[in-house]
């Protein structure tokens, strides 16, 4: 089963989506709308977002691409809900920068509170999986708590969704094809099998440091194949059997409007 949050006919709804793409509300009402209809506004799929953990350089080929040594332990940074936006929504490119790239990533959504979780039990703590696009603005990198918040924590820089797939429906999260297209052209073509630290490893690692809670998310990093994105570009991040996440880039002025 898949789970999403949408706005449909003026109502904000938590919905389930079955294998036949039928959309049902929590009250059991089946919505008379197709899954790809523009009448649906997609919200970020985690209803009460907690701490968002993101991994840097967690694919060996991406580490090479950025001229880094692969890390010996997970490189983790934190993001908050201000970065989240939904499927078919917009993200903005700041004025006057040279290089902003997408990062298509598998996301594990925590479903149960835990501390000191063993790797072999880790998936019991995962409610499901979704896809995010963990944008980065490389111009803003500084060597202090890198990647610093100015690079990664801007409003709208973490599109996520459209839905969460139950953990049970993904027998092996490390055997999934991962692709990104920009304006329909394939730019990233990887596989989650190439992750350096997989979800169970990261859950064991983080939960040795701190308690994980429902609504926390772990964004697991991106493989080789990042390119600059400009206002007007449409970016689609897809992970096999999970979902495809579409984002349209806009300018800073278009994003902030009156507050620009």
């Amino acid at each position: 089963m898949r789970h999403a949050r949408i706005i449909f006919e003026g109502r904000e709804l938590d919905v389930d989506i079955d294998a036949q793409d039928r959309i049902t509300t929590q009250n059991g009402e089946q919505l008379d709308v197709a899954l790809d209809s523009d009448l649906i506004t997609w919200l970020p799929p985690v209803k009460e977002p907690g701490t968002i953990f993101a991994l840097g350089i967690n694919y060996a080929d991406h580490a090479t691409e950025l001229a880094f040594e692969p890390p010996k332990e997970p490189l983790v940074f934190i993001k908050h809900a201000n970065t989240l936006t939904g499927h078919k929504q917009v993200s903005y490119r700041p004025d006057g920068i040279e290089y902003q790239h997408y990062e298509c990533e598998l996301v594990a959504v925590i479903g149960k509170t835990g501390k000191n979780i063993k790797r072999e039990n880790a998936l019991d703590y995962v409610a499901g999986y979704t896809v995010c696009n963990d944008f980065a603005i490389r111009d803003y990198l500084e060597n202090y708590y890198r990647p610093n918040l100015r690079v990664k924590s801007r409003d709208s820089l973490l599109p996520m969704g459209p839905w969460i797939v139950d953990t049970a429906d993904i027998p092996d999260a490390n055997a999934l094809k991962l692709t990104t297209t920009v304006n329909g052209k394939l730019t990233q073509d990887g596989n989650t099998k190439d992750m350096i630290f997989d979800v169970p490893y990261v859950i064991e690692y983080l939960s040795k440091i701190m308690t994980l809670n429902p609504g926390d998310m772990i964004c697991t990093g991106t493989p080789h194949g990042i390119v600059d994105c400009q206002p007007g570009d449409t970016i689609v991040c897809s992970i096999e059997n999970v979902c495809s996440l579409e984002t349209r880039m806009v300018s800073e002025q278009e994003y902030y409007g009156d507050k620009y």
């Binding site: 908050h80 708590y145 610093n148």
Partner: protein, 222 residues
Amino acid sequence: MTANSLVHSKLVCVALNDKAQLAALDATFHQDPYKKPPTQPVLYYKPRNTWSQEGAEVEWARDFDGNPVAAMVVGASLGVVIGKTTCRVSPQEALSHVGGYTVVADYSLPEQNYYRPDIKGKCLDTSAPVGPKIIPAAEIANPDALSISITVNGSVKSVFKLSQMQRSVAELISIISSIMTLQPGEVIAVGFAGNRVPVAKGDKVAASIEGIGTLTNTLGGA
């Protein structure tokens, strides 16, 4: 995660905002891996599992083998509590977006380097008490004129004048609000004395700002 935390949705901390600390580390910050001193505020989050309150015990951290860590430290900061949605405000208008002020304590492992996000050092459960209460912004004419002290078991270990901050409260609100839209109840810990105070198991720690209050917590593990 403490249900009664005064923090709503986000606690942003500013590291390396003590002028004396920046001066002392200047040579280090010209070398690898830093290469040059920071040009922007150095920010980190204390995530929700860290949030705690006045009077609460702070857990003594354990290492990856499950043994109690050898050393912990504490820093204290003025906590700026956002009063209304704050998006891309100028320094001139920044203080009008403050709802109130409080005290933030940041318990952590000793700060050893600033190159990578310090998840292992900073994200410890119950390590960010905030309180004891929120003083309305109208009662504080100039937040940059305040001074914050830390006492451990009754003896003063640190005094930090906020006039020694590299960036003022208003500048920080302006810069942070141009990275992220801030919401009511979110808290910014604007600056800590560069020399964090060592603490031991069982210590009673008081972080105090005149006119704001005293935040008292006890280290666990004794």
